[in-house]
Amino acid sequence: MASPLFEFLLRQGDNTLVLGHRLSEWCGHAPVLEEDIALANTALDLIGQTQLWLALAGEVEGAGRSADDLAYRRDVWDFRCLLLLEQPNGDFGQTLMRQYLFDAFQVENLAALACSSDARVAAVAAKSAMEARYHLDRSRETVIARGDGTAESHGRMQAALDLLWPFAGEMFQSDAVDQALAQAGVAPDPGTLRAAWDREVTETLEAAMLARPSGDFAHRGGKTGARHSEHLGHMLATMQFLPRAYPDAQW
């Protein structure tokens, strides 16, 4: 079995890779020019973070794989991203709701990781944390403005929340990898981040006039790689096309 630290780093890097890729799909197609620019900014931050997380993963693995090797030469079952993040963009409301639910988690996650006992993890987290706080400010504002906008924008934001809610719980599920890292002081047990996330989300949904879904059912299988959604394979087929089709080429 791969080392828990390697698994953990893949989870971090795959989350930012997959979400960054999804956001980059919007480029040139957003509802307002300013949103087009902002979505690209967020995607750029996430791709930059991916380079750091996956480079560190390759270093920890010690098998000579670069960040690009990990991003472009693994198949679905080796990906460790949350199911939430591989969900298709849907409409703008879905994209921003997905972003908000994750940002609210990621700000807490990175704040804890910035105090990691592993200095390399702490350094990447500290750099990413500033960006994540900015992403959260933006996505929170968007959720509130559209939730509290017109009847149509409210309806669309509520539908997005209802659709994505069952994918939120996976962020807080803990397994043997998480427990090993928590014991070593490398990373928080994700379950411990839930209370702060709940506070943030409750407050925002209230301001956005959105009803928090009642169920607590949570899909699982993304972060462990046990069962991804069908969407991830299509994303990888697109993303990995060139390195797969021309394995000897340098770009």
Partner: protein, 325 residues
């Protein structure tokens, strides 16, 4: 050159005011939005800046086509940043046009319903990764030829927008050339892609400057107003003279057998593009016209609720604030 075949308007203005206006331009003064200007100058500029802005926005699409397939994390970030810059250029230009009394929304609607144009070049498809190199190298290269002199154009907001745009465009062109170099010096398949991209983009790039306008009344008026700084032929020649040696450096062949150095004129002789193809593209019959407009229409229509939601929330916030005071 992102503005093509812009017609100039000559209005019914008072001759004395017109002469004073022309004197300011001849003296190299900048015209600012609050200054008096002939109606024709205003209308022509709206058309030109609007077309330029639309070209930046529609121009996001052919390169955006490869963002999700960029072959490395670094290439993906560079391409995404580049296409994002184009959105930014569109934004500066729409702002410059707004100072002339036309809203961004009105301009967008005119783009979507076909009343306004964008550069013919963005109606060509991007088929391989080498096209990301060719677009940067050739298309941005051709755009720079036109935009560098426009930094000195008479209308202040346009000139200032061009200064910002040019800084970024020259960076884009270098990035494009860098991709071409990697491809041209890469595997046999990569080299083939690079040559194929040059073959497909050469003549459409020459068309970007528009047909010869040395006898055009519109161009003469625009040049007198300093909203057009050079003739189309001058810029095209400059572009060819710059690009032919670069192609040789890359080990690629420009798809024109007639190219030859002409010592007498100090430039290359070259074949004219097929202008009937150019006019077909302008009429809407380019390979991608309908897809490009459909993509812009979809973004606009699908985004209507987002924009309306934003406005409604801002109104509610204002009302709540007033009620609390």
């Amino acid at each position: 050159m992102y503005a093509q075949m812009v017609k100039s308007d000559v209005g019914q203005d008072d001759p004395a005011r017109l002469a004073a206006f022309q004197a300011r331009i001849d003296a190299g003064e900048k015209i600012e939005p609050k200054d008096w200007m002939p109606e024709g100058y205003r209308k022509t500029l709206i058309r030109q800046i609007g077309q330029h802005a639309h070209s930046e926005i529609v121009g996001q699409l052919p390169e955006g086509n490869w963002i999700t397939r960029a072959p490395s994390l670094e290439r993906k970030a560079i391409l995404l940043a580049k296409v994002q810059d184009e959105a930014g250029h569109g934004r500066y230009l729409y702002c410059a046009a707004e100072t002339l009394g036309v809203s961004r929304d009105a301009l967008t609607e005119m783009l979507i319903d076909g009343r306004m144009k964008y550069s013919s070049i963005f109606n060509y498809p991007t088929l391989t990764w080498a096209d990301m190199g060719a677009v940067g190298w050739l298309v941005d290269g051709a755009a720079i030829m036109n935009q560098v002199p426009l930094q000195r154009t008479s209308f202040g907001p346009y000139a200032r927008a061009m200064i910002r745009v040019c800084k970024e465009e020259s960076f884009h062109q270098r990035q494009g050339f860098d991709i071409m170099m990697k491809m041209a010096k890469g595997t046999a398949a990569q080299k083939k892609m690079a040559q194929d991209a040059l073959n497909r983009f050469w003549f459409p790039s020459l068309m970007m400057f528009g047909p010869s306008d040395k006898d055009s009344v519109h161009s003469a008026q625009s040049m007198a107003w300093k909203i057009k700084m050079n003739t189309n032929d001058e810029l095209r020649q400059k572009f060819v003279d710059q690009t032919v040696p670069q192609a040789a450096y890359l080990g690629l062949t420009v798809p024109d057998d007639t190219i030859a150095w002409n010592a007498a004129k100090g430039g290359y002789d070259f074949a004219e593009p097929d202008w009937s193809e150019f006019f077909d593209v302008l009429k809407g019959n380019g390979p991608c016209n309908s897809e490009r407009i459909a993509a812009r229409r979809k973004a606009w229509e699908d985004g209507a609720w987002v924009r309306a939601g934003m406005l409604a929330h801002a109104e509610k916030k204002k009302a709540r604030k007033m009620a609390a005071e």
